[in-house]
């Protein structure tokens, strides 16, 4: 049964320095509030896992929370580069960042394998590209046809973190709209945290909704607006202006540090 706790408690309880942590949400339902709490609590040496590290990981990487990044597309969608990520990679600032790079298809298959308690996933890809020389991937032969396919190791994060529309009082979590890899990220992880916009008495069925039963979620925490500047289907829209403004803020170390101080560190927990 999921415990319903404060975001501060949940992060303190679930995430430790050195953990591998997956904050998932594919353009939608990105758990920004949870990322900010990780920054406030000063987590270090994290292995951050995420298909699309965007602004939230740019912030965590810029604050030196991460030692390694496992990803498949690292950019500011519709805007351009992630400048904190680039500085970490290109100039090791504030700390060096190791990269383990995959394709979306590879990451998605690796999460699915993790959720299914398999040690690896099989897909058609990677072959013929330069990726295998720089990442964890292998070739595997079909025992029936002899065909060769790509294999990637399963993703099994220590902690899976997602943001959802709502949960009920027992901790059953409901999310809808673009659902990305959130179900897999929670099921593949040893521990999981779902931040939600609200707690309700009953989860009314919604078309296209994904339900994570309370017994597969470790903790649920209310975080109103917890996906901003990303969006929450049915609650609020994407703040596209923020993504554009982030480009300028994140280009400059001081502007970045000032923004974090003002909006994350002093921005009440």
């Amino acid at each position: 049964m999921a415990e319903i706790v404060s975001l501060e408690e949940a992060v303190a309880e679930l995430v430790h320095d050195g953990d591998s942590v997956a904050l998932e949400g594919f353009t939608h339902l990105i758990p920004h509030a949870a990322g900010h709490e990780l920054i406030r609590q000063g987590r270090r040496d994290l292995t951050l896992i995420r298909l699309t590290p965007d602004v939230v990981y740019d912030q965590m990487i810029g604050m030196g929370c991460a030692r390694k990044l496992v990803f498949s597309w690292g950019g500011n969608p519709g805007v351009g580069s992630l400048h904190r990520l680039r500085e970490a990679v290109e100039h090791a600032w504030p700390v060096p960042l190791e990269l383990e790079e995959h394709s979306h298809a590879g990451m998605a298959a690796a999460y699915a394998a993790g959720a299914a308690n398999l040690p690896f996933a099989v897909l058609r890809g990677y072959a013929g590209t330069d990726l295998p020389q720089h990442t964890r991937a292998a070739s595997i032969e079909c025992p029936f046809t002899g065909e060769r396919l790509a294999a990637v190791p399963a993703l099994r994060p220590d902690v899976g973190v997602i943001h959802a529309q709502r949960a009920d009082r027992r901790g059953n979590v409901q999310l809808w709209g673009i659902s990305g890899v959130q179900k897999e990220a929670v099921l593949a992880a040893s521990r999981s945290l779902a931040t939600v916009e609200e707690i309700v008495e009953e989860l009314e069925p919604v078309p296209g909704a994904v339900i994570l039963p309370t017994w597969v979620v470790t903790a649920v925490a209310v975080a109103v607006g917890g996906a901003h500047p990303s969006y929450v289907h049915g609650y609020y829209d994407r703040d596209n202006g923020f993504y554009r403004r982030w480009d300028a803020i994140s280009r400059d170390r001081d502007a970045f540090s000032d923004w974090i101080r003002e909006h994350v560190l002093e921005g009440a927990a």
Binding site: F26, T27, H28, L51, T52, F71, S72, W73, G74, G75, P77, G78, S81, L85, R86, V89, E90, E101, H102, S103, H104, A105, A108, A109, Y111, A112, L123, R124, G125, Y126, A127, G128, T129, D130, L131, H134, E147, R148, L149, G177, I178, S179, G180, V181, K183, E184, G208, Y231, H233, D237, R238, N240, G241
Partner: protein, 255 residues
């Protein structure tokens, strides 16, 4: 409005390549713009699939990200990201993949990973995302990018996605089910692979562009097809449709 920019010509030429009813796996940016232009003009029945899992999206506004809410609201169905890549893309159901890139070589292999060395890159690009498997599994792939010696290179800094690999036979040897790149649409013209050598050749040139300019904008010795065509200039209808493609914000700017 018979005046147009090279970028407009590029988007229109790309849109023309999509036949009505085609199932199209669309990357964000130029590919999405061209695909939505096709939907707004000659291909209203074109099925748009975005890697966020939205199948049959019919956005009224041009999406800013691969996962805009409007894509989900207008889709025939929304599936998980693992499913869109396994059952739908790898499943071999996609007619046309639509990609951009930072670099392309003569065999239409693409780089969207790094400029410079991988470990100490001069520029760290976003990375492959969905592109490698889109290039591997779609029945055909269209590439759209502006042409210059910096983008059309003799040697990629990193091979992110496979066009024709090292030439004839490469795709089959890699076990790829898709047909590979059928055309590269640029601001100067359109390149197509030589059926025998798989090498990209200039097949069509945009009105008002000189062949020398295209050759000068290519980092390898660009071959030109004997019967070089000139792309039909944009029609007023095409230009009007293109210029009325706007993001939700462009329609009603936020405060």
């Amino acid at each position: 409005m018979s005046d147009w920019t090279a970028e407009e010509m590029m988007a229109i030429a790309a849109a023309r390549r999509l036949r009505d009813g085609a199932v199209c796996f669309v990357g964000i940016g130029l590919p999405s713009k061209a695909a939505n232009l096709a939907r707004a003009t000659h291909a209203p029945g074109c099925v748009l699939i975005y890697e966020s899992g939205t199948i049959g999206a019919k956005p009224l506004n041009l999406p800013l990200s691969i996962g805009d809410g409007e894509l989900a609201e207008t889709a025939d169905t929304v599936v998980s990201v693992p499913e869109i890549f396994s059952y739908w893309l790898q499943g071999g159901r996609i007619d046309v993949g639509f990609l951009g890139a930072a670099q392309i070589d003569r065999y239409a292999n693409l780089n969207s990973t790094v400029i410079g060395g991988y470990d100490h890159p001069r520029v760290r690009l976003p990375g492959g995302g969905g592109a490698p498997e889109i290039a591997a599994s779609c029945k055909e792939t269209l590439v759209i990018l502006k042409q210059s010696p910096r983008t059309f290179v003799e040697r990629l800094d990193f091979r992110t996605s496979v066009g024709f690999g090292d030439g004839p036979g490469s795709r089959a040897a890699l076990g790829f089910t898709g047909g590979g790149v059928s055309a590269v649409i640029t601001d100067l013209g359109e390149l197509e692979p030589d059926p025998d050598t798989c090498e990209l050749r200039l097949a069509r040139i945009h009105a008002g562009v000189a062949v020398e300019d295209v050759i000068a904008a290519t980092g390898w010795r660009l071959a030109v097809v004997p019967d070089l065509e000139v792309s039909a200039p944009p029609t007023d209808a095409e230009l009007e449709a293109l210029r009325s493609l706007k993001t939700a914000e462009e329609r009603e700017p936020a405060g």
